[in-house]
């Protein structure tokens, strides 16, 4: 089966999956108690008649299948609906926020793998020694810290050192500065959130790299290579890494798939205007169209990431190709 047919078939499945995900998300939204305008019900200044009018205006009074069908037919036409919270179309809202999130997660992805691969390979080599134990301890400690806490600790660093801004993406008023100073401002604001994202994703990947590398080192091929006198980085790159590659490629695919969700809570804590705060708000307030749109977006990334991983797996592991 040619690669092209494979890719096309996966893309077709991707479309089906996105559809399925949207239907299931919608169903779950229905199951969960409460809806968007519920917070008005405890507000003494807003009467019940107003709440009903608002619900009707925004199309929340129709039955579930009808609402889903309406949404679906709008999506086919390219209209992803209106956000109940922001009263603006969903698509541009998501697009802009996604860009801001990717500014954080894409560099974080590269940095994480850039650190995890060599570090994992090295600790596999010096396994059992003090350095390895220290690394192990540090990864355990990082795994034991929730994202929110890591974000808060970064904010503390900002506060105590005064070197970095304590949140946000730009300084107030700097958003329309057209010059290169804007990039500098953005970079200063991005350093701490980037560190937080890297610290939260690094431990798991490091563990996997190290474990796979240990396995690979014990394989006959690597033993033979060492017997031949191949050592150091040549050994690592040509032998250990290639043998250890299988689970790591799947993991890389999962990393790509989670590009949008890795920084969710950190963005919330550090006021980074990405998908995180938008999604958390939308999820909790049952802003239906935003949730559906964001889930579909996440699915697209997921399908893409898995596709890349599967293609890479086929390319890299000859045992599968056979």
């Amino acid at each position: 089966m040619s690669a092209l047919r494979f890719v096309l078939r996966r893309l077709a499945y991707g479309g089906l999956i996105t559809l399925g995900v949207s239907a299931l998300t919608f169903a779950m939204l229905e199951l969960a108690p409460g809806e968007f305008f519920d917070d008005l019900k405890l507000d003494a200044t807003v009467g019940t008649h107003t709440v009903e009018t608002l619900r009707q205006e925004h199309g929340l009074t129709a039955s579930a299948p009808v609402r889903y069908a309406e949404w679906l037919s709008a999506v086919v036409r390219g209209d992803f609906g209106l956000s109940l919270a922001h009263d603006t179309p969903v698509a541009p809202l998501l697009w802009e926020r996604m860009r801001n999130t990717l500014v954080l997660t894409v560099p974080a992805l590269f940095i994480t793998w850039f650190i995890a691969l060599p570090l994992g390979l090295w600790t596999a080599r010096v396994r059992g020694r003090i350095v390895d134990r220290l690394c192990s301890g540090a990864t355990s400690a990082l795994l034991a810290l929730p994202d929110l806490l890591i974000g808060l600790l970064m904010l503390l660093v900002a506060l105590k050192s005064g070197l970095f801004p304590a949140g946000g993406m730009f300084s107030p008023g700097a958003a329309d500065d057209e010059s290169a100073g804007r990039i500098g401002d953005l970079a200063m604001h991005a350093v701490l959130p980037l560190c937080a994202v890297v610290l939260s994703t690094l431990p798991a990947i490091l563990r996997h790299v190290r474990a796979s590398a240990i396995d690979a080192r014990q394989s006959p091929a690597v033993r033979a290579a060492r017997g031949h006198g191949i050592r150091g980085w040549r050994l690592n790159l040509r032998y250990v890494l290639t043998i250890a590659a299988n689970p790591l490629i799947s993991l890389a695919g999962l990393s790509i798939a989670s590009l949008l969700s890795a920084s969710l809570l950190i963005e919330v804590v550090m006021s980074w205007p990405g998908l995180g705060p938008l999604l958390v708000d939308a999820l909790l307030s049952r802003d239906v169209h935003v949730v559906l749109g964001a889930t579909m977006l996440a699915t697209v990334f997921l399908v893409a990431g898995n596709l890349v991983a599967d293609l890479a797996l086929y390319a890299a592991d000859p045992r599968i190709r056979a």
């Binding site: 409460g34 519920d38 009018t53 600790l153 801004p165 008023g173 399908v303």
Partner: protein, 908 residues
Amino acid sequence: MTRMRVILGSLIALHVVVGLAGFVAPYDPTSQDRSSPYAPPTALHVMDTSGELQAPFVYAQVPDPNDPAAYIDDTAHRYPVQLLANGRLLSVDAPGRLSLLGTDGFGRDVFSRVLHGGRVSIAAGLLATLCALVVGMTLGTLAGFFGGFLDRIVMRTADVFMALPWIYLLFAVRAALPLHIDTRATFLMLVAVLGVVGWARPARMIRGIVLSARERTYVRAAEGFGASSSYLLWRHILPHTYSIVLTQASVLIPQYLLAEVALSFLGLGIGEPNASWGSMLGTLQQYHVLMSYWWMLAPAVALTTVALAYHALTALVHERARVLTASVLLLLALGAHSAAAAPVPAARAAGEDVLATSDAGHYGGRLVVALRAEPRTLNPIAAVDAPSKDVIGRMSGDLIHINRLTQGTETALAKSWKRSADGLSYTLSLRRGLRFSDGHAFDADDVVFTFKVLMDPAVGAPHRDLLVVSGKSIAVTKVDAHTVRLTLAEPYAAAERLFDSIAILPRHLLERAYAQGTLADEWTTTTAPAAIAGLGPYRLKHYVAGQELVLERNPYYWKVDSSKRRLPYLDEIVFVFAGNEDAQVIRFQSGDSDLLGRTTADNFSLLSRDQAAKRYQLKDLGPALEYNFLVFNQNDLTGKNLPQIAAKQRWFGDVTFRRAVSLAIDRQGITRLVFKGRAVPLWGNVSPGNRLWVNNSIPRPARSVAQARELLKASGYAWRPDGSLVDKQGQRVEFTIVTSATSAQRTAMATLIQADLKELGMDVRVVPLEFRALVERVVETFDYEASIQGLGGGDADPNAEMQVWLSRGANHMWRLGQKTPATPWEAEIDRLMQQQLSTLDAGKRKAMYDRVQAIVAEQLPFIFLAAPHILVAARGDLANFQPAVLDHYTLWNADQLYFTPQLAGQRR
């Protein structure tokens, strides 16, 4: 081998210690010591004051008189540490305290809570990991081994599972479970669901390995020799997956241990007073706790230790032992572990412009304010959320304004008004020569248009209900270009207070949209600034989504200061979006923002520590107008399938029961522990912050458990030998209090009340719920027993509370949806509230509302708890900063704020 023994040994020791928490821990995890909240770890001494060596002992800790948050040792008495006394490993006699890791906000021993909490947390972590790995391994192996169609189905399903927002399923599961199920069981159920839906990631990775292993030559060979699939799987394929599974386990266990933290944030965690590492870490996420109380990090250390231990175990098994041993050990571990209206002023003949009441200021500067969330809209008709109202309030003008400091009315766009003798019509005289922020002239047509739009039911403006008095709308007519008349169907006391915060809309910009019926969709945050106009001190400059909203000075603003210079002083106000309360505080501390509106007592104390160095202005304005209360479900439950709650309404409906509960509640403890003393205890619905309307003669009984017991006894309740309370029918008195999971303060109040009522023999559970799930129960399904809520905080005038006290009002929370009042006293309140609505004499209104307050304090439909103080902060050089207890607390006089010259212009 020794290393294996060491690791296994320490793991077993860990589990044993946690399992025997009842013995090892010096205290009960739920026993509160309200005199020592947030106390640091007790120091163990071996040398006494005279320098002699003694057996290890501790001193009692007493609050430091110089610093209310600190403790010092009372060296007068020594309390030796006792081994194996009182049924515990280590203990000291009271009032000495052996808190090896300090205490939490309720004075509960952190060390004991860490031990007890370990049971739940480790069980949760192991359970979820087990679920995820079992399902993941099964499906991943099947997919990889059989390939083809099965592989495709499983992998596509995995994709779907990874993409779905499972949070809603968890909400749905939580909603489906009745409230009285043990919270630990509910919690473990939720964790198991979380684990099961997490099968996709491990499955993906395992499938990759299996795919590869399947094609090995020896597998092919075995197949050729006729080996069955199960043999191949068991003997050849599965061993390849062990490494991945174990690594996944070492990553997933701490991950699921932590999942609890997110679950508690969402109202799905284990309820109070149960301890668990996740919920303890949850408190650490509050900035002030992180900054001040380092010993609260103990659960993180415990988590790290457990994570390390399991990692070491998996690494070990990876190298030597068989997976079977590991799984047996893990299962054993799992098995071993089974939480005013003011009197109407005479029409004032003022000049065309109002003189500001504060000192003349300097122009220039940019004020940065951090909002908790983004404004949803800039349309005054559609705005219901606080951030939108905050921003819109600075951009729009109203006819008659309530001065936040005096709480009385003053002229604004209307330079004078006259009320007719029968109180049915108000004639307002508008100022002349005013312009909107785009330069267009303002006249009576705009006022008429605004009211027409507001009262049109098709538009659905939320404030419409404020303007519909006794079912009939206000009629607004134009008398001439600068005069309007408003006619009411019945006299309405303090009607002019209604006009505050009704933004006057520009007819020239919105008329067409109104005709087309799209008015409510206009003026979103992304609308171009030129299309928005208002009569307020500022106008929209630009909005950058997710980052900032900038307002600039309105050059056509009508107000001038005492030197006849045009207001406002500030060039710009920049609203940035901070995301949550802690981020707001951090932004303020770092100098990113200049103003902190309405913060909690804990953050306020934190800021007061740097006050001298950073020269902030910190103001405690005294009690707010809002009131927090405990409400029992007295709704009519016929037709709803809630037999257990209906049975309990025997107690809830009995006023003696409610009085007993009220007497047993430690209001002083609440003000001290929840609000750090910055609150006032309440016995009625009007807080002392509402100076004009509070009834100071309602009884304020001090806490008395003995009296409460007397009341209960007189009403037919009795106590069993074990201390638990039973009613006349012999049924144990127990109920659940639901609160909003996001409101730490209300949950804290519930926790304190839970301990208070235990002294009466009542068994109370606290269940924090996600906000919308809570609203649905309290307002729609009535599937709850008791709840902590808060109301008030709008205007000082009693008319703002109509919906609460009228028996058919939408906020009559204890009994919603009744057509006629269910009790004589509710009928009397109805009568009084209606009367005061149309009485124009202020003295008579006060007398009527006083009577309402007295009835409410006597009948206790709500058991009032406390009113928090309004706490605000601003930069030292912000002048004319005059915060008040009415909304908007800090920016109500934004047009008069300015920066004192020496620092204005030094912005980052």
